[in-house]
């Protein structure tokens, strides 16, 4: 069965390593914070100016001066720090943040990403996405494998305006985990439980590389 959004978040959470600073985008990536593996300590950065972001506040404890990049009210954990936007993007461009996870509308087989603009629709802006994808060493895209029309989001080349070029290294979808190879192509690493290689092949428009038996993902049922 294909994963739901929580499943995608749980699978990506397995990529977290102890001691990492992590920037999570809006949508599926935000859910990852709920599934940090036992025994691992990571710190979340929100690009509007906080490291050490905690969970949402309890009702009555909301602080208008404490929000995340999605403009949601948040809390700060012990050891948290606030900073200005220039310093925040110095952390990002300077590669001090070990992992960035963000959503996408399209990813191409050479690692291009499109996630900020659809021609003919109101353009809301790229926010910090272009800075993040242009700089981060380790970027994971979290998204559904196909769009609402059933069309593949993993393409030979992006059709939508780009957010960044040659930057995506890994994609985790409801169907599969795929590495984007430096020489181009999506290398199938894992299948979602019960999803066949054929199904993944069918949902992937870009070049798909399949070597040997492709294992199923193991998704932990319980997160921290």
């Amino acid at each position: 069965m294909a994963l739901d959004k929580k499943g995608i978040a749980k699978r990506i959470a397995q990529e977290l390593r102890d001691g990492w600073y992590v920037n999570l985008g809006i949508g599926i990536p935000t859910l990852i914070a709920n599934y940090i593996p036992q025994g691992i300590e990571v710190e979340f950065q929100s690009e509007n100016g906080i490291l050490g972001m905690g969970p949402f506040p309890y009702e009555g404890n909301e602080d208008a001066d404490l929000i995340n990049a999605g403009k949601q009210t948040i809390t700060a954990l012990p050891g948290a720090v606030y900073f200005d936007s220039a310093l925040s993007f110095a952390m990002i461009r300077g590669q001090h943040v070990q992992l960035t996870v963000l959503g996408a509308m399209e990813v191409s087989e050479n690692g291009d990403i499109a996630n900020w603009k659809i021609p003919g629709r109101m353009v809301k802006g790229m926010g910090g996405a272009m800075d993040l994808v242009a700089s981060a060493e380790n970027i994971i895209v979290a998204m559904m494998h196909t769009n609402k029309k059933g069309e593949s989001k993993l393409l030979p080349s992006c059709s939508l305006p780009l957010t960044g070029v040659n930057c995506i290294k890994k994609v985790v979808t409801n169907l599969a985990v795929l590495d984007v190879l430096p020489e181009g192509g999506f290398k199938l690493i894992e299948r979602a439980p019960g999803v066949s290689v054929e199904e993944i092949q069918q949902a992937t428009a870009g070049k798909l590389l399949i070597e040997g038996d492709i294992p199923e993902m193991t998704i932990e049922q319980e997160g921290k």
Binding site: S46, E47, N48, G49, I50, P55, F56, P57, Y58, E59, N61, E62, D63, A64, D65, L66, I67, N68, A69, G70, K71, Q72, T73, I74, A76, Y82, F83, D84, S85, A86, S88, F89, I92, R93, D112, M122, V123, K124, G125, M126, G127, G128, A129, M130, D131, A134, S135, P161, L162, T163, G164, V165, N166
Partner: protein, 232 residues
């Protein structure tokens, strides 16, 4: 040096139609509410506003959009505002969207005497169009320039009469860089104190960057996305 002005009216003296104005804030967090209200009162228009966002329909820069006082917005993200969308799609409002980190660094560069800098953000995208690009150590970068604002308007939590500022939480955001960037920088604060009352070790923006300071009459501090968790 005493930078105190009597009120918001005096603080905003010299703001005129056609000017380029930087306004601090991220979403509705850390925006100069009192000065925005005064800009509405002044009825100035044809403004170019540099601000990360454009407020919501009935708060923040949304007030200036309602009165069609803004000619051009320079921002990184402009969702959550129907009137903005209407003016943008009808062509009444010119919008320049730039990556958030580039926006922050352009503000910082403006105040730091740096005319331009290279950043990787936007290379290979439409952001790069018309700009110089260059390779450093095998990676491509885009040349981005400083701004030329007439005024910068920022909001801080506490400030002293010398213009030294301390921000609170994530309300800091773009305010410190914009404070550096204004030919004239206006700071409105929630609490104005005497020199010596702020610990010099804790000051975020030194008063040298601030020309005018006053205590805002009131702060609504509206929350854009109130999000809470359930008690366990």
């Amino acid at each position: 040096m005493n930078k105190v002005v009597a009120n918001v009216k005096e603080a905003c003296e010299g703001l005129e139609s056609g000017m380029t104005i930087m306004l601090g804030g991220f979403g509705l967090c850390g925006i100069p509410e009192n000065c925005i209200a005064e800009m509405v009162n002044l009825g100035i228009n044809d403004l170019t506003c540099i601000s990360n966002n454009a407020g919501v329909d009935d708060f923040g820069l949304g007030f200036l959009l309602q009165g069609r006082q803004i000619k051009k917005m320079i921002s990184s993200y402009v969702g959550e505002n129907d009137e903005f969308e209407r003016q943008m799609l009808s062509g009444e409002l010119d919008v320049e969207l730039i990556p958030q980190g580039t926006l922050a660094e352009r503000c910082r560069a403006t105040g730091a005497g740096i005319p331009a800098f290279y950043t990787p953000a936007g290379f290979g995208t439409e952001v790069e169009e018309g700009k110089e690009t260059r390779e450093f150590n095998g990676k491509m970068y885009v040349l981005e320039k400083a701004f030329e604002p007439d005024f910068a308007i920022v909001k801080a939590w506490k400030g002293d009469t010398q213009g030294n500022l301390i921000f609170k939480g994530t309300a800091r955001n773009f305010n410190p860089m914009m404070a550096m960037a204004g030919k004239i920088t206006i700071a409105e604060v929630e609490e104005l104190v005497e020199p010596g009352e702020l610990d010099p070790n804790q000051i975020h923006t030194p008063g040298i960057f601030v020309q005018r300071i006053f205590q805002g009459e009131k702060y609504e501090k509206r929350i854009e996305q109130r999000t809470v968790r359930q008690k366990e």
